[in-house]
Symmetry: C2
Subunit: 423 residues, 2 copies
């Protein structure tokens, strides 16, 4: 989990003595993905969970001996991050320039964390930010994450976690349940209906009977393998009017949901819920608001960040031995120096401005505001928890705090401006 250049920089730094300089690296996004009005910080918990395991074992050092000198290898063999980390609590909203994470320590120990930190934040934040838009589009209707198959098998687990963090109710991914306690959901695919095919043709009733037999009438039956109306009738025939739910995975979902609702009601299955899935994104979810849909299953668009598969956060050196530093090239300017942030709001709780200021120098008159920078690691030890449920609540209250334009799905500017104050 380390890019080669981190270790070559380390080697050169150990050799010329800058390795022990005190540095601060800052993680931030120069801008939100095009048209997005807010982002959701995610990955903090996974980073804190991973940090203590970020070591270089004997086998790794052996392989690295190909291009590293003995001093560097000795440093890595003993490596353990012993610095401090501050950052936004997981689940906070963020905006352009928000210092979502600040890593303080020797240059040597900070520089080797770059890839790990960015991989986790760029992935998890991209998913959580897209997921939050879907949650707000769905209003109070529950969302189920089912995109594992559309992304890398390990990324899928982190994606399920990020979706839950952002307000999804459940995930198809069992490893996310085992590892992070994300409720798992899922009953059957079209293959289960089709495997009941006989020589003389399909036998959907047999498939439904088998599923009800195994899991009771409260199960969810997938009714669109052949014909939705017939599927709904077969489903109620198999499970009776206490059938838990039907799922429709293809076709014109709004039209089919209405037809299914009418048919279910006629058959007395008035409490049976309707789950829709199949190429849903935040816009499709919003478009189904007026339809009798009880739950949404979301796959591809969730795990690919709905058009923004990476958050484009960067990990930049901003301070060396107390001296603010910054790169001077075009279009990549960032303010030097260690920073903290707070968020101003009206008395109603609606947020108005993100204020990023030199560490320890908050603006004098803030009015109602909330400190965003919190201690996460001190002297290499975790001082903050990775409570996923608390992070989930933070996303929910963050969405409530947005001005109403901030929740619009259409492309627009960030919901609040970011003010960088001078030292």
């Amino acid at each position: 989990m380390t890019d080669k250049y981190e270790l070559t920089m380390l080697a050169a730094a150990l050799r010329d003595g800058v390795a022990e300089r005190r540095t601060t690296f800052e993680v931030f996004a120069r801008r939100l993905p095009p048209g997005r009005r807010y982002g959701v910080v995610a990955g903090t918990g996974r980073l804190l969970e991973t940090l203590p395991q970020f070591r270089f074992d004997a086998r790794a050092c052996e392989l690295l001996a190909e291009f590293l000198d003995p001093d560097t290898l000795a440093y890595l063999a003993d490596f353990r991050f012993s610095g401090d980390i501050d950052g936004y609590a997981e689940g906070e909203l963020y905006f352009p320039g928000s210092p979502v994470l600040s890593v303080h320590g020797s240059f040597a120990e900070c520089v080797v964390l770059e890839t790990l930190v960015l991989s986790i934040f760029n992935h998890d934040t991209a998913i959580a930010s897209a997921a939050a838009r879907m949650v707000s589009a769905a209003r109070q209707r529950p969302l189920i994450e089912m995109g594992s198959r559309r992304t890398h098998e390990r990324a899928a687990v982190a994606a399920a976690r990020a979706a839950y963090l952002a307000g999804f109710s459940a995930s198809s991914n069992l490893e996310a349940q085992r590892r992070y306690g994300v409720p798992a959901a899922g009953t059957a695919a079209h293959a289960f209906t089709m495997v009941h095919t006989r020589q003389d043709g399909p036998d959907e009733p047999a498939a439904f009977r088998a599923q009800v037999d195994a899991f009771g009438p409260g199960t969810t039956l997938l009714v669109d393998t052949y014909d939705v109306a017939t599927g709904v009738a077969n489903a109620v025939a198999a499970a009776g009017p206490t059938l838990g739910a039907v799922r429709i995975d293809s076709g014109e979902l709004g039209v089919l949901a209405r037809q299914a609702r009418d048919l279910l009601d006629q058959l007395g299955a008035t409490q049976t819920r309707i789950v829709v899935s199949g190429d849903l994104d935040e816009f499709a979810i919003a478009a189904l608001r007026a339809e009798p849909v009880d739950r949404y299953g979301v796959g591809t668009s969730l795990v690919t960040g709905s058009g923004a598969p990476t958050a484009n956060m960067v990990y930049k050196l901003v301070e060396v031995d107390g001296i603010p530093v910054r790169k001077r090239s075009n279009h990549k300017e960032s303010r030097g120096g260690r920073k903290e942030a707070l968020r101003r709001s009206r008395s109603t709780g609606t947020i108005t401005e993100e204020v990023v200021y030199p560490a320890g120098q908050p603006p004098a008159d803030t009015g109602p505001s909330r400190m965003l920078t919190t201690p996460l690691v001190r002297d290499g030890q975790l001082v903050a928890g990775c409570d996923l449920v608390a992070a989930r609540e933070r996303v929910a209250s963050g969405l409530e705090s947005l001005p109403w334009e901030g929740l619009k799905l259409a492309p627009g500017d960030p919901a609040i401006p970011t003010l960088l104050t001078e030292p």
Copy 2:
């Protein structure tokens, strides 16, 4: 790595007796990503490597006992895939409907592989397909993959592998080197230059001297932290005219590359190469063809599939006990039955058509053609290797076999049509 519904289907199938029916599941993409003219099959090697480890240990079974019955748990405890797998060799091109993988076995053993198979193929194929377009855009100039930080930390390793497969020369990712033998590359980031800042300001010369001191004049110096012209002069001053390369990571890359080339030549560093990086995709690479660029570093666009982060492959049941089956819903039609494929070409080697036919029934008169379906697994044992270098050569010859329109970067139809023959 399993979605919950695979195990609920398994439980219901074991209970009603369909678990032992002989099935074939097929992996294919209904269409290429919008505008793409070909895809590159990737993931086969990773699947074959992972398959023998796909087991359910005691701890997993204990957790699954929450929703599974004892018979299902007993089945999983003994699980080992014992069926057959056929498929396209890794690195082959594919087109809409190409049966890139066919999994044959009992319903029980095939259905539980869905998420694993699709996660690997959808991720790796998306990356390799984007990478191949970049390779063809770069003509013979080498490409370095440096996108680890823009994607999930484990996906990054698979992305580096997929990029190498598609023709990239190297990757920043050390784990990809350790695990797959992908050559690793990388020297320094802007942080290394900036950490040499003194009280009175930046000290780029000190940073360059430190790097040359550690790695010799053949290293690559990053010259755009402050000013590219000064950076180039400082670089040659530090390393002498045998400096290996300079890297420019921001700004108007074409203009800066020309300025750097002129300056390097004036300073006698005529053999020093120029590496450019920073938001490159296949279009930006092509746009730099006329500029004095020697190597490209590609990050974000590579690991996000350059606009198509997932290949949208599906895993569909196509045959049950010899009976072809298919789903009948709108827009998702696929041909039932076990299939194989061959690719027709002209005598020049230029390909003309993909022919997908019922297994064992190839078209009578094929003309020049090549069989695409090959045995990968028999009775649960691997019968094909996972040779990454061979797969890489397959991509190269695949690109050579495309009709010229197939290599155009602009959106268009698939380079060759797919013909599905009837039984």
